[in-house]
Point group: D2
Chain length 348, copies 4
Amino acid sequence: MAMRIGVIGYGYWGPNLLRNFVQLEDCFVAAVADGDPKKLETAKKFYPWIEAFSSGETLIEKGNVDAVVIATPISTHYPLAKAALSKGKHVLIEKPMAMTSKQAAELIALSKSSGKTLMVDHTFVYSGAVQMIRKLIDSGEFGDIYYYDSVRVNLGLFQHDVNVLWDLAPHDLSVMLYLIDKQPESLCAIGAKPVHTNGWNLESIAYAVVRFPKETIAHFHVNWLSPVKVRRTLIGGAKKMIVYDHLDPDNQIKIFDKGVDFSSKQQLDGALLQYRTGSMFAPKIDQSEALLAVCRHFVDCAKSGKPPITGGHFGLSVVRLLELAQESMDHDGKNIKIEEPFYADARK
Amino acid sequence: MAMRIGVIGYGYWGPNLLRNFVQLEDCFVAAVADGDPKKLETAKKFYPWIEAFSSGETLIEKGNVDAVVIATPISTHYPLAKAALSKGKHVLIEKPMAMTSKQAAELIALSKSSGKTLMVDHTFVYSGAVQMIRKLIDSGEFGDIYYYDSVRVNLGLFQHDVNVLWDLAPHDLSVMLYLIDKQPESLCAIGAKPVHTNGWNLESIAYAVVRFPKETIAHFHVNWLSPVKVRRTLIGGAKKMIVYDHLDPDNQIKIFDKGVDFSSKQQLDGALLQYRTGSMFAPKIDQSEALLAVCRHFVDCAKSGKPPITGGHFGLSVVRLLELAQESMDHDGKNIKIEEPFYADARK
Amino acid sequence: MAMRIGVIGYGYWGPNLLRNFVQLEDCFVAAVADGDPKKLETAKKFYPWIEAFSSGETLIEKGNVDAVVIATPISTHYPLAKAALSKGKHVLIEKPMAMTSKQAAELIALSKSSGKTLMVDHTFVYSGAVQMIRKLIDSGEFGDIYYYDSVRVNLGLFQHDVNVLWDLAPHDLSVMLYLIDKQPESLCAIGAKPVHTNGWNLESIAYAVVRFPKETIAHFHVNWLSPVKVRRTLIGGAKKMIVYDHLDPDNQIKIFDKGVDFSSKQQLDGALLQYRTGSMFAPKIDQSEALLAVCRHFVDCAKSGKPPITGGHFGLSVVRLLELAQESMDHDGKNIKIEEPFYADARK
Amino acid sequence: MAMRIGVIGYGYWGPNLLRNFVQLEDCFVAAVADGDPKKLETAKKFYPWIEAFSSGETLIEKGNVDAVVIATPISTHYPLAKAALSKGKHVLIEKPMAMTSKQAAELIALSKSSGKTLMVDHTFVYSGAVQMIRKLIDSGEFGDIYYYDSVRVNLGLFQHDVNVLWDLAPHDLSVMLYLIDKQPESLCAIGAKPVHTNGWNLESIAYAVVRFPKETIAHFHVNWLSPVKVRRTLIGGAKKMIVYDHLDPDNQIKIFDKGVDFSSKQQLDGALLQYRTGSMFAPKIDQSEALLAVCRHFVDCAKSGKPPITGGHFGLSVVRLLELAQESMDHDGKNIKIEEPFYADARK
């Protein structure tokens, strides 16, 4: 029987979720909720059959649905997800999962006790590009990961309620978490608030570093004040190197056959290492919409009971990294040791 | 009368210095020194009149020169410059000026007491691109600088004696120092050493942050392990934004007519600020060799006694920032307050 | 009163036309026609109020509409437009207007006698980029046009009924016609059919040249067999030069301050001319959908009776150029003089 | 014993030839000739041992050399090469080989009768990029060549004595000749002279088409009036497609795994063919200087007597194509059948 789904929030991302869920065979988009009557009207225009609710709470309470998708402002993720799980609904939450790791942990516990699926929509993890990089790393052809360097900058809308770190970094942190199979050791972050106005005073530029064993380092640059849009990640390995440029649809992933060799005894003038620089390969990437894969995976997991790739622990790990990065930013970039065990669970 | 010049070090950069100095009218390249007889032979082949010395010390001691140009490994900058200034020679030193700020300060003092010119070859400062950005900032059209973000990465030769920070960051720190007319407040840096071999164990990746008053932030990414070569600096201002891409000769500087406006009372859904996004302008940049401008400026300053743009205090400031960044890297990226007064002198 | 519109053809382009017409205030999309019941169903799903017809002829015959939009295969343009004009409907036709210039001329006559608007959807003419180039040329700042060189290549779907020239070149010919205010003098074209299959044997690569007085030359390269997608036009003028790259949304138009000066008496070694190479300017381009401007312009013209920018004569001119190019292709690229007077009418 | 070489012409290309010949082991650059005493002085400064002559004729007459390299204006190629071959010297001529195919044929005959090597410096043929493309084609992996489309445009110096076709097209014609192993069937060309001044009136824009059996087509665009520099060739094959961009040093050749399949019976809406679009591969290209390979090959051929890759017949073929293209340009682009047999010899 088709799983009945209700979507809470029909603002920026909600319409995309509906558009994808309606394409799936084994589910039925039964309900939508939004506080804005105009948005509900638009939703009903496109999906005349849909039951409309003026609040997420009412949808959870009264909606005839098996699963709830939460696409509302971050601050409401936790109460809505809690209510939905308590009512025995499966839950898919937009990233980031919650405002605090404590909230995230509670939701994990609730999901466990209710036996319902809890999943976070970290869309990029499901993209053809990231899936292919993961395969390359798993194959051993890439070698040890030396570094992960991501840049996500653009002239973006300033958000009322979150700074640039909470707005943009969840994408990159989730991809990093999916690709680097190590327990992070420490973290630090620096932010800046060059722009502020009456009352509003949040970071619009941030840099964060996550460190792993064996000197593996990940670095993140997020920025709402860049004149150009950049979505580029460099990943350096012992055997290959990758440039992942999300905005270059023809060559999203370039794999360079470049690596480092230690030079033998007789060393060149000043040079310690020799480089093997070789060919470049841009594999064909599945360009189908990642969000469709997210929706399909959610329905699969809810029906089968198998754990989602970006389940509760994955979402919690991202939230925890954001939380620690914020703490570091608030203390002049102080270095914070990471001792939580749940990162290991995140990749299970 | 033509100023007589001796160049110490005919390795990587020395030949470029010679090639440029011989083009100047009011100076004469009289001598060269290098420990390697083969290199001296090459130098004499191109400049048959030149007097060759097997060491910098001998050149300083016996060479009939008014000025000495030091293009040797960093560790030798200080003793050679000290000897040259003591012998009453003008001195041009390759970047970075010295291994420690203490050494740099001593050289400044020596230059003052001897009345001889002391200048550091921070070549990029003299490039058409950087000169044009400075003019734009000075004109007031750019507005307050919000951030300075530079990336200088490539698959580079590992150096025996310096890490990636000391090798690559002097370029970017010098440009930042030239463009941002504020006293830096604090600094932190993080490095990683994923590659190491018998005995050698230096940073091949580094990130550094320098903070200024009013939340102005500068960030640096230097990396010897990138599959692609990037030399790109984003500079965000209140009125304009710049992309400075050294590798795009046709459009080294792109000036974006983009800025940020606070939205008025009625605010759009979630949006706090409105962006003015406008046209882009890529001014024609003087592409003549920056090093020629360096050489000419050195000769001018030595002859006239006027202070060089990148004189002793400028060189010292760069060394001090490197020193502090190293200290921060050695202590897990700890934040270091900057209280030295000499940054102000650097721009005099 | 809102003008009532019927759209014939709900295949590739029809849905885009509907989507844009429904956004306009002073018109009402009343009817749609398509031979495929599934497509009608989809149309009705999105626009539940719409009256659906199983053929264009029926829609014209029975539909309660003031205007008809024809988005069907080329071969049907003429009979449908003829029927519609005869029934006193305004007509907007997809490009190219008809299969022959004779058909096009008939439609012009019919439009004149019926007093109804006849317009061709040459979308690109209405784009922000082309409008801006036209303004620049009209201002006199561009100087005489020396050449117009367009490349439109990609790995495209081979069409059953038309070759690459008739499929792709209408875009470029219409833009050329809109920008170069001169009577074309002659034309030639070359095509190649490297790919063919049972029965099908049409050109998949074509080059065409249109010549104007004073040695102004226009050249077109259309190709269905390119591994990369290129949409790039170079326009050289006596004072400025333009690169118009449709696929570079951030810099669709780059205006180069480059021109040619005759060198004075003492001429450089081998060089006859000196170049002024200067700055580049990428103006902000209106990125709103050109098709919306097309639809709005059609409604305006139909209501007010004013002649459309891309009216019958414009459409005829494009068809005539295609016809002549085909004739030239069929005769090994022979040069064909152009003596028709209607190109002048095209820009009225 | 080292072959003794004399270079005639020390203008733009001559210095590059000398610089490369001096690097070869088995030859000795013994003499140089130029009408300009200043240039001879410069040559002697760099190569103090060299014997300088004030004219090519004198060098040929009196110089103690085994081979002569001719890097002078085109009009002098023939008389100088004739004199040199008559004196029993091996000859390397800059492209294009001569002003007429008759001259070129005479030189071939002279080379045969004297038993001396005659070679033309078509440098690009020896580049790593072109060599790799040739290998790919020879391997059969590329499939039949469908088309060859080259663009070589820039804001270039206008030449006094040659038009843009003779200046730029020799590069592309030689590469085409080297890559496409078929007898050309016909040719046509169109030029334009939008710029002219007192007396000077040559083409500054030209397009040429060369046709081969089985609908293989080659097209050339050369232009001195482009605001941007483009050096890009698309090569379409039945199995692969190549983008060869000379200005992209990191990815000079991109090989696309794209091809065309005829669709089976059930054909998609309007689509006749299906495309296999796949991955892209950018092989590492040997970036050593092609001119060094030219010089080495010339010395090898002269010593061993083996025929050069770009020998007399190759050079003649290029000249003949230029001649025919000029004839076509002079007659409004008329199509010219090619019946000469020597194209087959060109690849021997």
